[in-house]
């Protein structure tokens, strides 16, 4: 097996409800901390929303970015830039190390600049056209996070922005993998960003009956696989990875976290929001990713699940895992800690899956007190589980029936 065009991960960056970087996010996951807090005042009170909890960023991006730069960016673009700069610095790529025409960027978002759209609508209602910012369109366009990171790095191999709801971040990594495999780029900066804790997105999710209303106990509200789960908790954040062709990374002496060994995508063709109840589309994505990675199913010891804490969704994914992999993988579901980061979740969870493989440790699933009997696989709870991993799968599924699975292996 030739290894020189394998895809390796050399840089990580994140800003999440658990911490302002990867280390603090990972520590919080291992320690079983929650990033969910009450939503006090503001639109939640004004519109008497039945949901009064959210997983907001631990560190405001405006504390990290220069003021003038921040004011030209939607919040989802701010978090993308914060995480991308961390990842780029972490990868240690110096000036001139990569031909900019061989550097790509792929960053997805599920919603894009919803806050900008709402803010600017308020301004035109109050003061007319002249009050609307000339930056409105670049702030609300869903390719904004990718475009701004691309500009920051002067990337010229292509800047792309897949949009597939809650699979966007994972799809960005799949797209990056393809760019590297096809030879279009030597290095690709990829991931997902989301920041839409706003009136209209929350109202829409509430009306779709998808959100937890456990307002009196925010830290216990997101409880994937638990029999008493009642919906997801909306979060915000970004996760960005620097991916490289292995020969390129080795030649520059890069520190390698592990490999994105395989990707698998599929679509359900079933319903606009509900997953196929048998999880057939999901299992096809998982099986493809494992096949592409060339790993033995028996070596997939862990699955980092999409499980969002909704009553319907959480029981489907384990069916798909059993069909595609078997009964041996142990599961975890990090949304119990950081809520559902929508288009960022696939990227943030790809980072934690990769760290599980590298360090041989799987974080526990928070708030899983009483496992739903329909979830017939072992889920890590309580303490982190030490387990030597050859390979692990990370799943992301999105409204629209988008399924993306990623396989990470040791370097």
């Amino acid at each position: 097996m030739t290894s020189n065009n394998d895809v390796v991960v050399t840089g990580l960056g994140a800003t999440t409800p658990l911490g302002g970087d990867v280390a603090s996010t990972w520590d919080a996951l291992l320690a079983g901390r929650s990033g969910v807090t009450p939503l006090v005042g503001g639109f939640a009170e004004r519109f008497d929303l039945p949901v009064r909890i959210a997983a907001r960023l631990a560190v405001e991006p405006t504390e990290v970015l220069p003021r003038v730069e921040a004011r030209r960016l939607d919040r989802c673009e701010q978090v993308a830039l914060v995480a991308a700069r961390q990842a780029w610095a972490d990868a240690g790529i110096g000036d001139g190390d990569v031909d900019l025409e061989r550097l790509g960027v792929v960053i997805g978002t599920g919603i894009g600049g919803a806050m900008t759209l709402l803010d600017q609508d308020d301004l035109i209602e109050a003061g007319g056209l002249r009050k609307v910012s000339p930056l409105t369109v670049p702030m609300l366009m869903p390719n904004g996070p990718a475009a701004h990171v691309g500009l920051d790095l002067k990337a010229r191999a292509g800047v792309h922005a897949p949009v597939s709801a809650c699979a966007s971040g994972a799809e960005a990594l799949a797209w990056a993998w393809r760019m590297l495999k096809s030879g279009e780029a030597d290095v690709v900066v990829a991931g997902g960003a989301e920041a839409c804790i706003t009136t209209i997105t929350m109202a829409g999710f509430i009306q779709a009956r998808t959100m937890s209303t456990r307002n009196d106990d925010p830290e216990r509200a997101s409880r994937p696989f638990d029999v008493n789960r009642d919906g997801f908790v909306l979060g915000e954040g970004a996760g960005i990875l620097v991916l490289e062709r292995e020969d390129f990374a080795r030649a520059r002496g890069a520190r390698i976290y592990g490999k994105l060994a395989g990707i698998g995508t599929s679509s359900d063709g079933h319903h606009i929001t509900a997953a196929d109840p048998e999880g057939i589309g999901q299992s096809r994505a998982i099986a493809k990713a494992i096949q592409v990675a060339g790993v033995d199913k028996a070596d997939v010891g862990h699955v980092n699940c999409h499980a969002t804490s909704t009553p319907v969704g959480d029981v489907i994914e384990p069916l798909a895992v059993r069909r595609a992999v078997g009964d041996h993988p142990v599961l975890t579901a990090p949304k119990g800690n950081h809520g559902h980061l929508l288009g960022a979740s696939g990227a943030v969870e790809a980072i934690t899956t990769l760290l599980s493989v590298r360090d041989g440790i799987v974080p526990p699933t928070l708030n899983l007190d009483d496992q739903d009997p329909r979830v017939q696989l072992e889920v890590v709870t309580g303490e982190p589980r030490k387990i030597d991993l050859i390979a692990a799968v990370n799943n992301s599924f999105g409204f629209g029936g988008h399924n993306v699975s990623l396989v990470f292996t040791q370097a």
Partner: protein
Amino acid sequence: MSNEDIQKGLAEIVEEVAGVEAADVTVDKSFVDDLDIDSLSMVEIAVQAEDKFGVKIPDDELANLKTVGDAVNYIASNA
């Protein structure tokens, strides 16, 4: 309002919008060539200047305001 007051007020807007230090916003400076202000920021600056000084700055006039001095003079004669 004196030209000095207009310049001072304009410099505050330029600093807020584009991050250029107010002290650098002097009458001889070109918005684009010296202060590195792009066309989008110029629109923001014009809108804020309209509110602050009670003037109208139509787009065809805005295009003629190359330097800080041009803008100060326009505001002084139209406010």
